[in-house]
Structure formats: C-alpha cells, structure tokens
Symmetry: C2
Subunit: 565 residues, 2 copies
C-alpha cells in the first residue's frame, strides 16, 4: 500500500492546508518519508459535517448490517497486519512482532463489538406493558432503548499505535454504538494511521454506508483538537493521553454552549500491594513478575505497574533483589517520541528530588531516544510525606516503597488518587489485611487484581479500564471492554406507540431476538413463532407466556399507585 | 409535628449561623411561622464530612438492609402524609389533595427503589470465567459489579415540593445506589422540607445506620449550593431547576480540581405535534386535552406541554377553539414564588415582543402571585425565524403554532433544542409523516409520546426523564424512573479473586440470587442449592447447568485470541 499522506475525509483524500509533517523513527531519531498533510479548522468542519450527514442513516442500520461492517474492518485489518505492524514499528520503535499481536487484538476488538451489536443487549430494551386497569390512573405502554449520541471525536493514543489508535477500541465501540466518527490521528504514527484509515474507509464503501461514517484528520499543535472539541455537531469526545492534555480538552468541552461528555483516560500508577505472607513465600517471584510487566512497551503503558509496596520483613530483600536484577539486565530501547523521552528523564529527576534513591539501572542508551530502565526506592514515611512521588513517570521506571507495617500500608493506600487498577498479592494468611485494603481500593480504582499484575488488560464483558479521577474524567464508564459502548449511548422512551412505529428492538414480537427487561424483572426472548413473523406471542425468560392477569395484579398493588409525575 | 426550623445535620439539629428566613404563603403573599435556620460553608463541611464517614458502612450494607431502610422512609412518609401535604400547600399554594397524591408518589418511589435494590440488577454483575486453556495466554477470572460513587449533593426542586424535593426521586435513587446524601433544601418550602428530613432521619436511626447517611442544609443566596458543589468529598450533584441555575452549578463543578458528574434537569417545552389526520378527526379533543395538561400545577411542571403545532387545515380551528375556551375559563391560581411569578410575566412579554399574539386569557388574578393562564399564537414561519419563541415560559401559558404544511413541520421539529419529551398525535393515515418526524425527535428528546401528553411522567423501568442539552446536562442518564440509580454508580472489576474476598453479588454460588451476565450471553440465577448455602452449582438462565466445556470451546475461538491490553 502506497502512503498518500493525505487527510481522509469521507471518501476524499484531502491535501494539506497547514503544511506537512514527517514521522520520526525513534530508533534512529530520523524522519521517514512521505510527508503527511496537516489540516485545520476547515478540514475538521468538513469531516464533522459529513459525520452529521451520515449519522441518521448509520445510526439506524440494522444490527446485522452494523455487525457486518465491523466484521469487514476486522477482516481488512487482518489483511494488512504485516504491513501495518512494519510501518508502526518504524514509527514507534516497538518490535514488529509485538505490533502484529496488537493488530490481531485490534481486529479482535472489532469482532467482539460486532458480537455485542448482534446480541443487542447494549440497547437495554425495556418494556413496561400497559396496565389499563390500574387505579387511580391506567398505565400506558412504555418502552425504552438506547440510541447513539451523534458524531463523536476520537483522539488516537500514541502508546498503542494500533489497538488504541485509529482502528482501536474507542473507534470500535463508537461505531458499534451507531455513532459516526471523526478521528484525530496521533502525529507520532501517521503512516500506521493512514493504513488503518484506509482499512476502515474500504469497509465503509464495501458496506454501502455513507462516506461520512468515518474520517481522519491531522493537525499541528492544538488547533485540530480544539476545533473538534468545539464543534457544535460533535456530541462526545474520547481521549487517551496525559493528564494535562486530557483535562485541557475536558474543561474546554465543558465550556461549550452545549457541554458534551468527554471521556479522558489519563494517568495511573497502578499500585501493587504485596501482603506479608505472599511476600515471605513468593518475594523473588513477585519481584521478577513485576519487573517483566513494568518493562513491557518500554514502560509506556497506562497499566504499567509503577509503584510496588511491600512491608519490610521476610521476603522483602528477595523481592528487591529479583526486581533490581531484572531491571539491571534490561536493554535500553527507544521511547515513542522525543517529548515522551524528555518527560521520562524529567520524571526521574523529580522523583530523585523528592528523595527517592536510584538503586538500579538498565543498560545504558545507545541511541538518542533510548529509555534506560530504572528502579527507585524510598521508605513509606517519606512516600506518604510527598504526594509527587505518587505521580506517574511514563517510561521504564518503578518505585519500590519499603513500608513499615500494615498500618502504614493502609495509610498509603488511602493517600492514592484515582487509579485504573491496583493489585494485591496475597496468601490465605493475608486475608484479614486484604479485607481492610479492599474497600479502600474499591473507592480509588476501576479494577483490582489478585496475584497477578494489572497489565495486560483483558478485553471482555467484565473488563473495566477506567476509574476515579485522575485515572479518567468520568469513573462511571470504561474505555476498554464490552461496556465501553455505553459511553456513546443515551436512552429514549417510547410511550403509547403503535407497533409499526416502534424501533425493531421494541416491537411486540421481538423480531431481533434481543434480551428485554419486561416489567422490571424478566428478560424476554424471541418466541419461536416470531422467527416466522407470524405470531406475536411474547415468551418470558422463565418459560411462562405473558399473562395479562399478572399486569392486573400489579395494577392493584397499593404501593405502585400514583407513581407518575 | 412541631417544626424546629433547624438544619438537620446527621443526628443533630443545628442552629442558624447565617440568620433565618420564613416561608412565604403564595396564596396570601405573607410569611408563615416559624423561622428557618440558614447555614453556610461550615455547616456544609460538617454535613459532607459526616456523609463521608458514613459512606463505607452504608455503601456496604446488604441489599436487604438497604431495601428495608428505603421501605422505612416510605412508611414514615405515609404516616405524615396529611401533615406534610397541608404544610406544603401553605408554602406552595398548590392544593392539599394534589400534594397528598404527591406524598403517596414519593413513598411509592422509595418502595420502587427498594425493589430495585432487592432485585440487584442495578449491580450489573458480570462474570467472565477463567479460560485456563486459552491461547496464546490464559484468561484469568474477571468479575464486575457497580458500586456507589460516594457522598452526593442533591438540590431539592421547587415545583414538586415532595416527590422531587427532600424525599424525592433523586434522594431515593442515590440512597438506593449506596450513596450518602447531603440535601440542599429549597427555600420555597422549608417546613415541608423539615418534615421530610425528619422522616428520613428517623428511618436512618431505626435502621441502625450511621447518622451521616443523610443531612439537610439550607442557606441564603448561592453560598450553600456553591460550597456543596466545591466540596472535594462530594462525588456527584443533581439539580432540578432553571437553565441558568443548573448551568452555573454544572460549570462550577467542571472547574473543580477533580471534576464530578452533575446531572441537571433544566428546561423543556415538550413540543406537541398534531398530525393532519389526527387533527381532522380529533382536533377539539386534542385542544381540550392539551389545555388540561398544560394547566396542571399552574403550568409549573418540567413536562408542561408548552408548544402545540398543527398544520392548518381541517380540525385546526376546532382544536384552537377548544384550547382557547378551556384557557379562558381557567381560574387564576397562585404561583410558587414571587420570582417564578415575575419570570412568568416577563416570559409572556418576551413572547409578545417576538410577535406572538395573546389570543386567550384566563380569569384575572385576585392575589399578588396569581398566574393568569394565557394562550399565545403565531404562524410557523415566524416561529422558525425567532428561536426565542421556542424557549420555556414557566407557568400556565402555551404557544399555538399554525404550521403551513408538512415540510414546515419537519423544519420546525429540526429547529428545537434538546427536550425532555415530545408528543405526536396521529392516526393510521399519518404514519408516513410520523416516520419522518421520529428520527428527528429521537435525536432531540428523551421520551416520545403517541396520542397522549408528556405530562404526567410515569415512574417505571422504561421511564426516561432526561434528554439532550438543555433539557439536561447529560443525556446519557435520567432523573426519573428506575434507571435514575445509574447516575450514582460506577463499575469495578475484580480479577483473580478468591471467592471469599469477592463481593456477595459476584461469589460463585450467587448467594444474593442477583441476575448476572456470564460470558456475555447468559443471565444466571441463584441455584436452588445456593439458597441453603450448601452447594455452589451455577445454573444458567436457560436451565442448563454451567458447563466447563463451553468455556473450553470459547477459549479456542480464534477470533478472541490476543484480546488483552
């Protein structure tokens, strides 16, 4: 595939209006060809207007059509896997084999969301049947489903240049919800971004969808990002990146005439609590496992375990030694961008200025942007005294905290800001301390891991990649996992509708066979008859056919009278 | 019950620190005894700290305990129904009989949320079992449930002084979620507020809960409201009121160091579209029904149908005449507050300045704060030309718009800002026009009603009282109905947990019997055995016992490999 370097706005390749840029190969610190077009407010406006034009049609595609579209993106990603991984490797310094796995994962996410769409549970179809006999006032038939918010702006992440970039989880979940997408490509991997945009565009075309379903823009500085967030037709924003960048976008969006939801995934140190019995039995193994996970992706992962907390006592030295040894033997590898590289060095300096000692270092850098692995250490009292030590250093460094006792460990747990995850390593004898930690961690994290490390993040139904501020800007949602789709949906209630006007998911015969909540307690299925569209008998999940007498009984419960506004 | 006029902070009656105020009887425009204490930042801080102290315990109450607590509030509300309605009538000018029904409704809402709690579906328990054989990497056991956000601030509404005030739907849904509540009483009905606060406090005490579960504060001006929104321990805010007030709170909360969710329910004109065949067959009946609903509560309802749109032709005059006649015969009744009364007069003036003609008026006022009912009229072209005509006039007035044709009706529908609701009156022959209107209304409303009026709002599972801005500040949620609880919840994932450390809803035996999503497709139930806590067999919703082979099969699906971050 020849890279054109253009902006991908709907079906059109749009040339630069604000100059061009080149990708940088972080392994060599040299630019790579070709040049890539930079746009501005005009290109954003064009893309967003197309997304708006496409929205009504796209958001009303059938579940089968939308799932097929997502499946085509997955297939197209598979077809370019090698080429995509090779270009991404040049642009990020990450190993091509790892990026091939990331491409596989990206395709998997589209297939997973295709399945979510086909199942239709995300619609949360809900039916409160009419109660004509209710006193003092009859209840009308009420039905509810979720619909897509509108065109959304997605900011590609830099650190996972495939699975959380152009064809990443945000795009997959937004498209699954029925939203149209204007994606801001990250300037750190423009070539990989173009390959992915091409893949999505082809799926749009092959699916016969409006060209505005997906566009990709790119710009210098903040102009394009700000134009996206400001655009009145944009109805939601997702962002993965730094706390500074995320909060600037978040606050800007809240100052719009019409504020919109902004889900930013920003910063987390993913504290790892080693409880005493686990430490004494498995100290060396834990130190080794921690080091392995913290060094993945040159430490440039939102789920990097960055802070390791152990109570001094049996096993602590063994843990420290295995951790140190592994870090000391780690090769220096290129970091993603010059900005990330210099922020990493500053972060290390900041921790040392706060009193942390650098006790182990990996191999020395051989190239400009190589990140040298590092272990820093401090004791619990000094850690507690300086909140800056609990802030993220993005890169291959970790902080080992020697904690005095269980009480100090609890105090440290309570001092953390919001996190994506926390881990506890424990044995049976640690249960009572774990039970004390658990409610503290629940209030501060989106995911709690036992006897493993937070990274990697599973992508499944129970996955949560979210958490209280500043891990994200809205702890009620997740950016990874099947419920990431909920960020892009809102409920609409339909009252007293004739069957033919209702959305398919809410029609009496349940022709889509989606799960439905009926009268608050029962999930219905498609009746065998409805498969032939011949009958409209509704079957309840408990096997009993719908029973008007139940409605009549409910209508006589005194508790539920007068329940209208 | 003797009114003390104090602030209700936990178990303590707190005296005024910022002077006192008296309630006003709008029917007489005279103050009523006793005086009510006003507090400031110190009292807010005290209440919020108590709410924080109470949170861990309250949010971990069992579902049964929490449901019993909500039930006690309902019973206590029933016990004071007459007294509460009488005091609220004095403070609002609304009929006592209507307020008794509102008290019944408030109690009903607590009972409904008790049922939501008992059922446990709001936890959205989700289980992705371990897949030890999955390639290339085994999947660990992942489980997810929703937990409460933390202490929340609730601003009582003025227009429904019982069911959406101190003991209203916001309080019920927040307490149901497991949040502790600091309520800001509306100064328009301090006596009714105290009676409700007392009822909740008694239920807290009788349930053996921490005193900080509920507090009620009150203040002059904006100090108390701002202190609540600013307080770092407050994790969410709900507000019902004007767009100006709601957006001031919303934007203030987004400027906090840690922004928090703010759900404001603000403004809606609930447009009512009369389609041609319905108009020709039922014009007079529709005009009559519209007038009845718009005059409820002296037009002071968020769901008041305020704008009536009919295409000129058969039935229009009949509709106009029945509407005019009913408005002309409407008595003038006291409005809630002097501020609302004067804003109503200004709103009428604004509409006339925009070209609307006042074509019918109700009986003349006999008291200072009486609101005189009014019908205004305009044609579709002029309505479209001046967006101010589409803004809410809170009170007993409506705007009848004579629309030229279907195209103009569509154009008008597209021009509306976000609404809580819209209604269509239609007959079979109107179906194709309804199908054109429907996607336009879906994008602009939270609820669409056919052949009825938006007001009243049912409180049930499929109820949505929300909608795009400016109807609310977050269209993804509702403030009325059972899913109002979702505003106060966030997900937490538990990975690799031993059964004994898991929250009850996620334990293998499902001892609470809550619905659970297992592997994305199956809702489990409590097994008969688990009721006796003797066995841990898991039953699937489809009647088949859990089958490890299914997990093994899933682990071999190539589509789902590598799906981790």
């Amino acid at each position: 595939m020849t890279l054109t370097g253009k902006l991908f706005i709907g079906a059109a390749d749009i040339a630069a209006s604000e100059g061009t840029m080149n990708a940088l190969n972080p392994a060599t610190n040299r630019e790579i060809e070709p040049g890539f077009a930079l746009g501005g407010r005009a290109e954003v406006d064009l893309a967003v207007r197309l997304a708006e034009q496409a929205f009504d049609g796209y958001s009303h595609t059938t579940l089968a059509e939308r799932a097929a579209f997502l499946g085509r993106i997955a297939d197209n990603l598979d077809a370019v896997r090698t080429e995509l991984a090779e270009r991404a490797a040049q642009e990020t310094g990450l190993p091509a084999v790892q990026l091939e796995a990331e491409a596989t994962k990206a395709a998997t996410q589209f297939r997973q969301f295709a399945e979510v769409v086909r199942k239709g549970r995300f619609l949360q179809a809900t039916i409160d049947p009419a109660q004509p006999e209710r006193q003092p006032r009859p209840r009308m038939d009420h039905r509810m489903q979720k619909i897509a918010l509108g065109p959304v702006a997605i900011f590609g992440a830099s650190n996972f240049p495939i699975a959380y970039s152009v064809a990443g989880g945000d795009t997959a979940s937004a498209l699954a919800a029925g939203c149209t997408v204007v994606l801001k490509a990250h300037n750190a991997h423009p070539g990989a971004s173009e390959i992915m945009a091409r893949v999505i565009r082809k799926a749009v075309q092959d699916s016969g969808l409006h060209q505005g379903v997906f566009s990709m823009v790119r710009g210098a500085g903040n102009t394009v990002g700000e134009a996206l967030v400001d655009h009145p037709l944009i109805k939601a924003v997702t962002f993965t990146g730094s706390e500074g960048g995320g909060m600037a976008l978040y606050r800007r969006a809240q100052l719009r005439l019409e504020p919109i939801p902004v889900f930013t995934e920003m910063t987390s140190v993913n504290p790892t609590f080693i409880l005493p019995q686990a430490l004494s039995l498995r100290g060396a193994e834990i130190g080794d496992g921690f080091a392995e996970r913290m060094l993945v992706n040159v430490g440039q992962a939102c789920l990097k375990p960055a802070i390791l907390l152990g109570i001094e006592g049996p096993g602590f030295e063994a843990m420290r030694e295995s951790l140190s040894a592994r870090i000391a033997s780690a090769p220096a590898r290129p970091m993603l961008t010059p900005g990330i590289h210099s922020a990493y060095l500053q972060g290390l300096d900041r921790q040392q200025a706060s009193g942390a000692r650098r006790t182990a270092e990996g191999a020395a850098p051989s190239q400009d942007l190589d990140g040298r692995s590092a272990l820093l250490e401090i004791d619990g009292a000094r850690f507690l005294a300086d909140p800056r030590l609990a802030e993220e250093v993005f890169g291959p460094a970790a902080l080992l905290v020697k904690v005095r006792d269980a009480e100090e460990l609890i105090a440290i747990a309570m001092a953390f800001r919001g996190q994506l995850s926390a881990s506890m390593h424990l044995e049976n004898a640690d249960t009572s301390l774990a039970q004390r930690l658990l409610p503290i961690l629940e209030r501060r994290t989106g995911r709690i891991v036992v006897n493993a490390f937070a990274h990697p993040q599973e992508v499944s139904y129970a996955s949560i990649h979210g958490g209280p501020f500043p891990a994200t800007s809205d702890s009620r949602f997740t950016s990874v996992g099947m419920s990431a789709i909920d960020r892009f949906l809102r409920p609409v209630s339909y009252q007293g509708f004739p069957d033919t006007l209702l959305p398919m998911a809410l029609r009496e015969a349940n022709p889509l066979g989606v799960p439905r909540l009926v009268d608050g307690g029962v999930v219905t299925r498609r009746s065998p008859a409805a498969r032939n569209d011949q009958e409209t008998i509704r079957w309840r999940g408990d096997g009993a056919p719908a029973d008007q007498r139940a409605f009549a009984r409910a209508s006589k419960r005194p508790n539920f009278q007068g329940a209208s506004r």
